[in-house]
C-alpha cells in the first residue's frame, strides 16, 4: 500500500497530462478544485486498498487485426470507493507473438492464438485471458465502421461544420453521420471524386484539409499519424471502397463503469465497447465522442478520462454511431465519520432518497414544523396559502395523523381542482390563441372534471388522445385542434405523455438520444390521419374547429428515405396496421397507456414529482433521454411501479409524495447537505408561481383582482387561459400556452419583479385600499400585538416570534397615530419578504 500523497503524485503521470479535456468542459471548475483541494480527496480516504485488482474486461477475444482492446484497472478502497489504477498499472504479455500490450493498457492482436496479460498495480496482480482469432486475410478498412466514426469524432459532420443542412464550402455530410451512404457518395463521387486520391492517398483533400496542409476553414481536425488519420488513410489506400453487403453491423453500445463513486480530484478512465451483429465486440473508446452533463462536477477528455471536480453528481455520455451510453459519476467527500441515516421502509420515497443520501454521505435536514408544512402543502396542492382560520384549526388539531388528514382535506377542495386543472391546461395548451372560446371553456370543464373525479391518468391520456369531432361533443378534441399540423401533434403528444422531445428527429437524428427520423415518422404515421375542419355547428365563431379523422390517409413519408414510414412505437416495434381504414391512434394509445410502456408512467411520475420539489427526479421533466439519467433511478422506478400498481392514480402518487419525510424536510441545510441541491436532502425553496402569488396576495389583502376578459370573480388560477390582460401574471411568468413544455412557465426571479413588488400597485394599492383587509383590521383591532399577529397570519401563515413582535411594536410606535399607514407599510414589508414569495 502506498502513501496517499505518493499515490496522488503518481496519479498525474506525464502520459495522462497529454490527454486534453474536452474543450469547454469545466476548465474553470477544475482550476477551482485544484486550488481548493490540491492534495486530492484520497487523502481523506483510508490509505489502503482492499480486495483484488479488477480489470475490465477480465478476458477478451480479438478478431480483427487493427482493433485492439483497452484494459481498465481498478481497485476498491476501504470506504467502498473505486479507484482507477489504469495509469499506474504495469502490463505484461505472456506471448508477444500473439498479443502485445501498450503502456496505456491497449491489448493489440499479433497472430491467432491465446495468451495472458498480467496486470500489476500497487502490488496487486490480475491476469486477463486473451484469445486472438484473426482472419486469414487482413480485413479491409470499413467506411461505415472506421471512417464514419472518425468523421463524427473530429466534428466534421457536426451541425457547425459539414453536417450543416447546406454543408460548408460545397461539401455536405449528413448530420452526425445519419446517412452513411450519402456521405460515401459525397466523399468518393462528388466533383469527380476530387476529395479522394486513390493513387496518392496521403495528398487526398479528405486528409490534407483536416491535417491543415491545405487551407481549411474548420481548422486542424486530425493529428498526423493519429488513429483517426491512420484509419482514413488506410481506407483510401485500399481504394476507398464501400462496405460489402452482409458486413456485420453495429448493434449496441456499452460503457464501463456505468456508475461510480469518486472523490473530488479523482480520475476515472471510461471504456466504451460496441457490439456487432456477428457477435464481436470492439473497443471504441478512442472513436467515441464524450460529453458531461454538469460541467462543474466533472470534466472528460477526448479519450474518455473523467476528472471529478466538485462534490455532486453528473452523467458522462459517450456517443458512437449515433448511439449513446451513459456513465453516472458521484463525486463525494470521503467522510469516515459519516453516520448513515436509518432507512425508512414505510414510504418508498423516503426509503430510496435516504439510501441515496447515505451513499452520498449526506444527512437529510430536519422535518418542517406544522405551520410551515401547512403553508407548503396548501400552496403546492391547492395553489393558495392557508387562511388564519385554517392555520388555527391545524394548530388546534392534536391528532398525530393531522398532516395526513390535511392532505386528504386538500384533495376535496375546489382549489385543488383549480390548481391541477390549471397545470393540465398549461400543458395541453388550452388557449384561445388557437381554440374557440367555447372550446377552451369546454376543455377546461373536462379537465376540471377529470381532476375532481381523480380520473386515472392512463384513462385521462386515452380520453385526450382519442378526441375527435367538434368540441361541443368531444371537449378533448381540443388537444388536436390546438396543433398546427401532425408534426405539432406528435411532438406535443410525446412531450406531454412521454416526457420526450422529438423535434430534433424531424430533420436529423436526435443529437442527444437514439431517435432517428424513422422513429419520428413512425410516430407521425400514428397521427397523420387527424385533421381539422371548420366546425359547421359553430358558424361565425373564431377558431371553431372540428377534429376529423381521414381513415384513407396513408403512412407518413420519411424524407430521408423518401419512403412511407409505417407506424413505429418510440424505440420499439412497428405494429401491423393497415395503411387505411383504421384509426391508427388506437394502437398508439394502447401502447402508450400500457403498464409496460417505458415512458408514460415514468414521465408522469417524474412530472408530478417536480410540482412538489424544485426539480424532477429527471430534470428537465420533459426531456427524458438516456443522456439525461435520473438523479435517483431507484426512487423513480419504485414510484413508477407504485403508480402503475395504483391504477395510474394521481392522488395516490401525490399522497405518497407529500406524506413522505422527504417532502416534509425543512429548507434549512445542515453541514452535510449544504452542497446538495439535487437529492432532496432538504427542501429547496422556489418562487410561488404567478397565479399562486397573485391569489395569495389577494387573499392576504382582501382586495380582489379584476381581470379584463375573464368571468367576474375568477381567481388567477381559475382563468381559462393566458389571453387575459394582466401585467402581474405576465411579469411573473404565466405561460402563454404556446408550447407543451414546462419551461414555458418562467419561475425565475428578476429585477422587474422585485421593483414591481416594491413599487408596483399590486401590493401598494392593496395594502392601502380603504376596503382592504389592512385598513379594516387597523380600524377594528386596537391591540397592536394582535394586529401584528393577524397580519402575520394573513401574510406568512404563522404567528410572529417574540423578537418579531418587538420589532413590530417599535415600528408601529414610530408612526405615532398614523396607525393605518403603519399597518399598511407593515404588511407591505411582510409581503415583500422572501418568506411570502417562496414556497419554503
Amino acid at each position: 500500500m502506498r502513501p496517499k500523497t505518493e499515490y496522488k503524485t503518481m496519479s498525474m503521470p506525464a502520459r495522462r497530462s497529454q490527454r486534453s479535456l474536452v474543450p469547454g468542459t469545466g476548465f474553470l471548475a477544475l482550476a477551482v478544485v485544484m486550488l481548493l483541494s490540491p492534495a486530492g480527496a484520497l487523502r481523506a480516504e483510508s490509505p489502503g486498498l482492499i480486495g483484488q485488482l479488477h480489470v475490465w474486461p477480465s478476458k477478451m477475444v480479438l478478431t480483427h487485426n487493427r482493433r485492439p482492446h483497452s484494459l481498465v484497472v481498478t481497485a476498491r478502497t476501504p470506504l467502498g470507493r473505486t479507484v482507477d489504477l489504469t495509469s499506474r498499472a504495469a502490463f505484461q504479455t505472456s506471448n508477444p507473438k500473439v498479443v502485445r500490450v501498450t503502456p496505456l493498457g491497449w491489448v493489440e492482436p499479433v497472430a491467432s492464438g491465446t495468451a495472458q496479460v498480467r496486470v500489476e498495480a500497487l502490488g496487486l496482480i490480475a491476469v486477463v485471458d486473451v484469445e486472438v482469432k484473426l482472419p486469414p486475410v487482413m480485413a479491409l478498412h470499413s467506411f461505415r465502421d472506421d471512417v464514419m466514426p472518425v468523421l463524427s469524432r473530429t466534428g466534421c459532420n457536426s451541425g457547425a461544420c459539414h453536417g450543416y443542412s447546406l454543408g460548408k464550402n460545397g461539401f455536405k455530410l449528413s448530420l452526425r453521420g445519419a446517412d452513411p451512404m450519402a456521405d460515401f457518395e459525397s466523399l468518393t463521387d462528388e466533383f469527380l471524386g476530387r476529395r479522394i486520391n486513390r493513387h496518392n492517398p496521403a495528398v487526398s483533400l479528405m486528409l490534407s484539409k483536416p491535417l491543415g496542409q491545405v487551407a481549411h476553414k474548420g481548422g486542424i481536425r486530425l493529428e498526423p499519424e493519429s488513429l483517426e488519420h491512420r484509419l482514413i488513410r488506410g481506407w483510401i489506400r485500399e481504394g476507398a471502397k464501400s462496405d460489402p453487403a452482409g458486413a456485420a453491423t453495429f448493434q449496441s453500445l456499452s460503457i464501463l463503469p456505468q456508475k461510480i463513486v469518486v472523490g473530488p480530484g479523482w480520475e476515472q478512465q471510461l471504456q466504451v465497447v460496441a457490439a456487432y451483429s456477428d457477435g464481436s465486440l470492439r473497443d471504441v473508446t478512442r472513436l467515441s465522442v464524450f460529453s458531461v452533463n454538469t460541467e462543474r462536477i466533472a470534466a472528460v477528455s477526448r479519450d474518455g478520462l473523467v476528472q471529478a471536480l466538485l462534490l455532486g453528481e453528473t452523467a458522462v455520455s459517450a456517443r458512437f454511431e449515433r448511439t449513446f451510453a451513459t456513465s453516472e459519476f458521484l463525486v463525494l467527500e470521503p467522510r469516515g465519520d459519516f453516520e448513515p441515516t436509518p432507512v425508512p421502509q414505510d414510504n418508498i420515497v423516503d426509503r430510496f432518497v435516504i439510501e441515496k443520501l447515505n451513499l452520498m454521505n449526506v444527512r437529510p435536514s430536519e422535518l418542517i414544523d406544522d405551520a410551515g408544512f401547512l403553508r407548503r402543502v396548501s400552496i403546492d396542492m391547492a395553489g393558495i396559502q392557508p387562511t388564519p382560520e385554517q392555520v388555527q384549526a391545524f394548530e388546534a388539531d392534536k391528532d398525530p395523523g393531522r398532516r395526513r388528514k390535511l392532505v386528504e382535506a386538500l384533495f376535496g377542495r375546489e382549489d385543488f381542482v383549480d390548481q391541477w386543472s390549471l397545470k393540465w391546461g398549461d400543458l395541453l395548451q388550452n388557449s384561445r390563441t388557437r381554440l374557440s372560446d367555447p372550446a377552451v371553456f369546454s376543455f377546461r370543464e373536462w379537465l376540471r372534471e377529470a381532476v375532481a373525479t381523480n380520473k386515472p391518468l392512463d384513462q385521462f391520456a386515452r380520453d385526450v388522445l382519442v378526441g375527435r369531432g367538434g368540441v361541443s361533443e368531444s371537449p378533448t378534441a381540443a388537444f388536436y385542434a390546438v396543433s398546427n399540423d401532425t408534426h405539432d401533434t406528435l411532438q406535443r403528444a410525446t412531450q406531454v405523455f412521454c416526457g420526450i422531445r422529438m423535434l430534433c428527429a424531424r430533420c436529423h437524428p436526435h443529437p442527444f438520444e437514439n431517435w432517428t427520423q424513422a422513429d419520428y415518422y413512425g410516430l407521425y404515421s400514428f397521427f397523420n390521419q387527424v385533421g381539422t375542419k371548420t366546425d359547421p355547428r359553430l358558424p361565425g365563431v373564431k377558431n371553431a374547429k372540428a377534429v376529423v379523422i381521414n381513415l384513407g390517409t396513408g403512412f407518413g413519408t420519411n424524407p430521408r428515405s423518401g419512403k412511407a414510414q409505417p407506424p413505429r412505437f418510440l424505440g420499439g416495434s412497428e405494429p401491423k396496421l393497415a395503411t387505411s381504414g383504421v384509426d391508427r391512434r388506437g394502437a398508439y394509445i394502447g401502447w402508450l397507456t400500457s403498464p409496460q410502456n417505458p415512458f408514460f408512467a415514468r414521465s408522469l411520475v417524474n412530472r408530478i414529482w417536480s410540482y412538489f420539489f424544485h426539480r424532477g427526479i429527471i430534470d428537465p421533466v420533459d426531456d427524458l433521454r438516456s443522456t439525461n439519467p435520473a438523479i435517483n433511478p431507484a426512487l423513480l422506478d419504485a414510484l413508477t411501479a407504485d403508480f402503475i400498481k395504483s391504477g395510474f392514480d394521481m392522488r395516490h402518487l401525490m399522497r405518497t409524495i407529500v406524506n413522505s419525510q422527504t417532502y416534509q424536510r425543512s429548507s434549512v441545510a445542515n453541514d452535510s447537505n449544504r452542497h446538495d441541491d439535487m437529492n432532496f436532502s432538504r427542501f429547496v425553496p422556489r418562487r410561488l408561481p404567478a397565479e399562486t402569488l397573485l391569489d395569495c396576495l389577494v387573499q392576504a389583502t382582501g382586495v380582489p383582482e379584476r381581470f379584463n376578459g375573464a368571468p367576474a370573480g375568477f381567481t388567477a388560477k381559475q382563468l381559462p387561459d393566458a389571453n387575459i390582460q394582466s401585467d402581474f401574471l405576465k411579469l411573473f411568468g404565466k405561460p402563454q400556452r404556446m408550447e407543451a413544455c414546462e419551461c414555458e412557465r418562467d419561475s425565475g426571479a428578476n429585477m422587474l419583479q422585485a421593483l414591481h413588488f416594491i413599487n408596483g400597485q399590486s401590493i401598494l394599492s392593496r395594502v392601502n385600499s380603504g376596503t382592504g383587509r389592512v385598513v379594516r383590521l387597523a380600524k377594528s383591532e386596537k391591540d397592536t400585538s394582535k394586529l401584528v399577529e393577524t397580519l402575520y397570519l394573513w401574510s406568512l401563515c404563522r404567528r410572529p416570534l417574540a423578537k418579531e413582535q418587538e420589532v413590530a411594536a417599535k415600528f408601529f410606535a414610530s408612526y405615532g397615530d398614523k396607525r393605518q399607514e403603519a399597518a399598511g407599510d407593515f404588511m407591505w414589508a411582510l409581503l415583500n419578504s422572501r418568506e411570502f414569495m417562496l414556497v419554503h
Partner: protein, 851 residues
C-alpha cells in the same frame, strides 16, 4: 271619474312635464316561473310595467282559473293559475292583458311537474320538480335535493331550446363534495345540458350550474327539471308523407323508445306537432315531425334501405360507431339529382358524410358539410347506371340510436309547386275602442303570383279585419284591425287570439298558408307558435290624434313622381303636444347588396313630418301652468292657516277664476290648430307595377318631442303603381331603311313619348344595343314636347343586312326640381337594310293609349 276640465288639466300637466307614456302597453319583464303545471295551480309573480288595471293572464292554452294574490301593482302582479287536467304539455305563449292593452308574449312550459322559482338555498324535498330561474354573467346556480342509492335521476336544463342564450353546464355532487356527474352543452339538445345518473348513495345531492363561458347573456332564463320524466328531443322517422299516418319513435330522456301514431294532414306544411306518447311524464318541447310531399321510406334492415322512385326520402339511423348506411336509389342516365341529408337541422348529433357510389362501389361524389354540418350534393347521372348507392355515415365515426337522419333525393329539374309564405312583424296588436290598428303582411312568393285572401281563424268576432286581400303580384298588404266601439270596456283585459290564414285566389290553386310572426325563438322547433296572434282591446282612449287620409285624385303611384296625400287631423281636446307623421306601406324595403335600399322604397318625401305646437297654444299652456301654480300656492297657504281669512279667500277665488279663464283660452287655442295637412310620398322610379297599400301613422309626442304618447293610423289607401314615361308603341318593330354600298347611312328614328301623371321634365332619347362602330345617337325632348326624331348613323363598314337587339331608351326626371330621380322607358326594335337606294325615313310610330 274626473270632471273634464280636471282631466284635461291632468293630461295637460302630464304632457307638459312628463315624458311618461300615457298610452303605455303592459309589458312583462320577469316571470317567477316560466312554467305552468297541468292539473294543478302554479303561483306566478309577473314583473313588468303597466300591468294595471285588471291584469289577467292569457295563454295559448285554456286556463281553468286565475286568482290575483294580494294587491296587484303596476309593476308586479301575483297570480295563482290553474290548468285543467287535459292540457297538452308543451311550450306556449303567455301574455298579460290589462285595461291598457296586451303585452307581447313570453314562453312558458306546461307539464305535470310542480313548478317553483329558484330561490337562494332552496332544497327540493320531493322529485320530480321544475325550477325556474335566470343566470347572468358568471353566476352559479345551486340547489340541493335528497336522493337514495340506486335512484335514477334525470336533470335537464332547458334554456337554449326555449330561446335563452345560456350555455349550461351541470355539476352533480354528493354531500361530501365528490362528483357524480357532469353535464355539458349537447348538440342534440340545441346546446342545453342533461344528466342522467344513478345515484350512488343515500343522502343530499348538490346540483350546480353555470354558463359554459361564465358569461350568461340576456335572456339567461332557464328551467331545470329534476326527477324522472320524458322529453321529445328527436323523432324517428323525422318526416311523414302528407295525408298519411305512421308510427314514429320519440327519443327522449330514457333509453326506452316510445312510439306514437302520427297522422299528417294533406294540406300541412313544415313541422307539425304530434301527440305525446300515452305513458310517461312529458316535459319540454312537443314532439314534431316534418311533413313531406314525397314517399318516406324508413329503414328496418339493411335491405330496406332502398328508394323506389325519385323524388323520395329515406329515413334511418347510424346506430353503431363506424356504421355506414347505403341507400339504393334508382336513377336514369342524364338525370340531374340532388341528394340532401337532414340531420343537424333535425337536432341529430350526426355530422353527416355522404358518398354516392356506383353499384361496384366506386365513389362518384362525396360531400361533408353543405348546410351546417349536413351534406348535400348534386349529381348528373352518367350513362349506364340504373341505380346508385348513397352511403351515409358520421364524419367522426360515431353512432347511436339518436343519430337520426333523413336523406332526400330529388330531381333538380323538377319544378317546385307554387307556394308562398306570409309573415308579420308582431304577434300582438292593440286597438282603441272604435279605432283601428294597421299592420303589414309580407308575402314571399315562390312561384305563386296571384292574389291572396286573408282569413282570421278562431277569432271570436270582436274585431274586424279590413283590406284582407293581397293583390296579385303584390309584396304584401296593410291589414286594418278594427275594434268596434265599446269593446274596450268589459273586454279590455280579454284579448282575442286568432290565426290569420292566406288562401290563394288564383284559378287552379289551392294553397292555405298561415301568417307567421317573422322572428320567434322557437321558429325552428315549434313553428306553430309563430301563428299565435292576438288583438288586445284598450280600455279608454288616451290623448290622441286621429288621422284620416283623404282619397287622392288620380289614385296611382306614378313611378319617380311625388304624390300628395291630404290628411285631416282630429285632435282629442287634451291632445296638445306635437304630432309626428310617418308612412307605412305594404312594400318591404328592397335590399341592395343585402342592405336596405331606401331609394327603391315608397317613402315619405321627408322621413317624418313634425307638426309643432303653435305659439298661441304654447303661450296658453304656459299661462295655465302659471295660474295653476299660483292657485296651488294659495291653497297651500290656506291649508296652513287652517281657517283662511277673507282676503285669502278672495285671492283664492281670483286665482281659481284666473285659472279657468286660462284653461278656456288654452282649449280655444288647441281647437284653433290647423286640421289639414299634406303628406308627400315619393314613388321610386323602378317600382314594380302592382298594387300597394299606404297608411299614414300619426304620433302624438310629448311636449319635449322625445317620447311617443300615442299612435294612430290613417285608413289604408290602395294604389296601383304606374309608369310615368313610355314610348308610344310602334306598329312594326322592324325599321326598314335603304343604303348604298360603301357609304354611311343615317336612319331617322321617329317616335312619340307618353308623359303620365304630370311628368314634366326634359327627356333624353338614345339608342342602345348597337354594334361596335355605330355611334350612339341622342336627342333631348323638352318639357311639353312629346315627339322626337333621332338620327342614327350606320357607317358603311357595318355591312350587316339587319341589326337586331336595338333599343330606344328614353329617360329623364319627372320633376325638374328633382333631377336625380330619373325614370326611363325603352322599346326594342330591329333595323333592316335594303341595298341600292337612298335611306328612307321610317314611318312614324302608331301611338296607342296604354290606359
Amino acid at each position: 271619474m274626473l270632471r273634464p276640465p280636471t282631466r284635461f288639466l291632468a293630461c295637460l300637466l302630464a304632457c307638459a312635464w312628463s315624458t311618461q307614456l300615457v298610452a303605455a302597453l303592459p309589458t312583462i319583464t320577469s316571470l317567477s316561473v316560466r312554467g305552468l303545471q297541468v292539473g294543478g295551480t302554479t303561483r306566478v309573480v309577473i314583473g313588468g310595467t303597466n300591468l294595471l288595471p285588471a291584469p289577467r293572464v292569457v295563454a295559448g292554452i285554456e286556463i281553468a282559473g286565475q286568482v290575483i294574490v294580494g294587491k296587484p301593482a303596476a309593476n308586479a302582479v301575483t297570480l295563482d293559475i290553474t290548468l285543467a287536467d287535459g292540457v297538452e304539455p308543451g311550450v306556449y305563449h303567455l301574455r298579460v292583458a290589462s285595461g291598457q292593452g296586451l303585452s307581447i308574449p313570453q314562453l312558458v312550459t306546461v307539464d305535470r311537474l310542480p313548478q317553483q322559482p329558484l330561490e337562494a338555498g332552496v332544497r327540493i324535498e320531493k322529485l320530480p320538480m321544475a325550477l325556474h330561474g335566470r343566470l347572468a354573467g358568471s353566476q352559479v346556480g345551486t340547489v340541493q335535493f335528497a336522493g337514495s342509492r340506486g335512484q335514477s335521476v334525470v336533470i335537464d336544463l332547458l334554456a337554449r331550446r326555449v330561446g335563452s342564450t345560456l350555455r349550461p353546464v351541470l355539476h352533480l355532487h354528493r354531500s361530501d363534495g365528490r362528483r357524480v356527474a357532469l353535464g355539458m352543452p349537447r348538440v342534440d339538445l340545441a346546446g342545453d345540458a342533461r344528466i342522467a345518473a344513478m345515484l350512488p348513495a343515500d343522502g343530499l345531492y348538490t346540483l350546480r350550474w353555470h354558463d359554459l363561458q361564465y358569461a350568461a347573456g340576456n335572456p339567461g332564463n332557464y328551467r331545470l327539471s329534476i326527477g324522472r320524466f320524458d322529453a321529445a328531443d328527436l323523432v324517428f322517422p323525422a318526416a311523414v308523407t302528407r295525408g298519411q299516418a305512421r308510427e314514429v319513435i320519440v327519443l327522449g330522456t330514457g333509453t326506452k323508445e316510445t312510439r306514437v301514431e302520427v297522422t299528417v294532414p294533406r294540406g300541412a306544411r313544415g313541422l307539425v306537432a304530434t301527440r305525446w306518447p300515452s305513458s310517461g311524464l312529458p316535459v319540454g318541447l312537443r314532439p314534431r315531425v316534418q311533413t313531406s310531399r314525397w314517399p318516406e321510406v324508413v329503414e328496418t334492415s339493411a335491405e330496406s334501405r332502398k328508394l323506389d322512385s325519385v323524388p323520395s326520402a329515406g329515413n334511418g339511423r347510424v346506430m353503431a360507431p363506424g356504421e355506414s348506411d347505403g341507400w339504393r336509389v334508382p336513377v336514369k342516365p342524364g338525370e340531374k339529382l340532388r341528394f340532401e341529408v337532414f340531420a343537424d337541422r333535425l337536432g341529430s348529433p350526426l355530422d353527416s358524410m355522404l358518398e354516392i357510389r356506383k353499384p361496384d362501389g366506386a365513389v362518384l361524389a362525396s360531400n361533408d358539410d353543405a348546410v351546417r354540418s349536413d351534406s348535400r350534393l348534386d349529381l348528373t347521372v352518367s350513362a349506364g347506371l340504373s341505380h346508385v348507392v348513397a352511403s351515409l355515415s358520421d364524419r367522426h365515426g360515431r353512432g347511436g340510436r339518436r343519430f337520426v337522419y333523413r336523406l332526400v333525393v330529388t330531381r333538380t329539374t323538377d319544378p317546385a309547386p307554387p307556394d308562398f309564405d306570409l309573415v308579420v312583424a308582431a304577434n300582438s296588436y292593440n286597438v282603441l275602442p272604435g279605432g283601428w290598428h294597421v299592420f303589414r303582411v309580407d308575402v314571399t312568393r315562390r312561384g305563386y303570383t296571384g292574389a291572396i285572401r286573408l282569413e282570421a281563424v278562431g277569432a271570436p268576432g270582436r274585431f274586424r279585419l279590413v283590406t284582407t286581400s293581397i293583390p296579385a303580384g303584390a309584396p304584401g298588404a296593410l291589414v286594418m284591425v278594427v275594434s268596434p266601439p265599446g269593446v274596450g270596456g268589459d273586454g279590455a283585459n280579454r284579448p282575442d287570439r286568432f290565426r290569420l290564414v292566406g288562401v290563394s285566389e288564383a284559378e287552379g290553386t289551392s294553397i292555405r298558408r298561415p301568417v307567421q310572426v317573422a322572428s320567434h325563438p322557437l321558429a325552428a322547433t315549434q313553428p306553430w307558435l309563430r301563428e299565435d296572434l292576438a288583438v288586445g282591446h284598450m280600455a279608454a282612449p288616451s290623448p290622441i290624434v286621429f288621422v284620416t287620409a283623404k282619397p287622392i285624385s288620380g289614385g296611382a303611384l306614378w313611378q319617380g313622381q311625388e304624390i300628395a296625400v291630404p290628411l285631416q287631423l282630429t285632435r282629442a281636446p287634451d291632445a296638445i303636444g306635437p304630432v309626428r307623421l310617418s308612412l307605412l306601406t305594404s312594400q318591404k324595403v328592397p335590399l341592395a347588396k343585402g342592405k336596405p335600399n331606401a331609394a327603391a322604397a315608397i317613402r315619405g318625401t321627408a322621413a317624418t313630418i313634425d307638426i309643432p305646437v303653435p305659439a298661441p297654444v304654447k303661450a296658453a299652456q304656459a299661462a295655465v301652468t302659471k295660474a295653476q301654480a299660483a292657485l296651488s300656492a294659495l291653497k297651500k297657504k290656506a291649508a296652513a292657516a287652517g281657517q283662511p281669512d277673507e282676503a285669502l279667500k278672495k285671492q283664492l277665488e281670483r286665482a281659481g277664476a284666473d285659472r279657468a279663464a286660462k284653461l278656456k283660452t288654452l282649449e280655444a287655442a288647441v281647437a284653433a290648430q290647423p286640421r289639414e295637412a299634406i303628406y308627400r310620398v315619393t314613388v321610386p322610379p323602378g317600382l314594380p307595377l302592382v298594387d300597394y297599400d299606404l297608411a299614414v301613422v300619426a304620433e302624438l309626442r310629448s311636449a319635449d318631442n322625445k317620447t311617443a304618447l300615442a299612435r294612430s293610423f290613417s285608413t289604408v289607401l290602395r294604389l296601383k303603381a304606374r309608369r310615368s314615361l313610355e314610348i308610344a308603341p310602334r306598329a312594326d318593330r322592324v325599321v326598314r331603311a335603304s343604303r348604298t354600298p360603301k357609304s354611311d347611312v343615317t336612319v331617322r328614328l321617329r317616335g312619340e313619348l307618353l308623359r303620365r301623371g304630370g311628368f314634366s321634365g326634359q327627356i333624353t332619347v338614345t339608342v342602345a344595343g348597337q354594334p361596335k362602330g355605330v355611334p350612339a345617337a341622342k336627342v333631348v325632348v323638352k318639357p311639353g314636347q312629346t315627339r322626337f326624331e333621332l338620327p342614327l348613323v350606320v357607317p358603311a363598314k357595318v355591312t350587316a343586312a339587319r341589326l337586331d337587339k336595338l333599343k330606344l331608351v328614353a329617360s329623364g326626371p319627372p320633376n325638374f326640381k328633382t333631377p336625380k330621380i330619373q325614370v326611363s322607358a325603352s322599346q326594342d326594335f330591329s333595323l333592316e337594310f335594303a341595298n341600292n337606294g337612298p335611306s328612307e325615313p321610317p314611318p312614324p310610330p302608331v301611338a296607342r293609349s296604354l290606359e
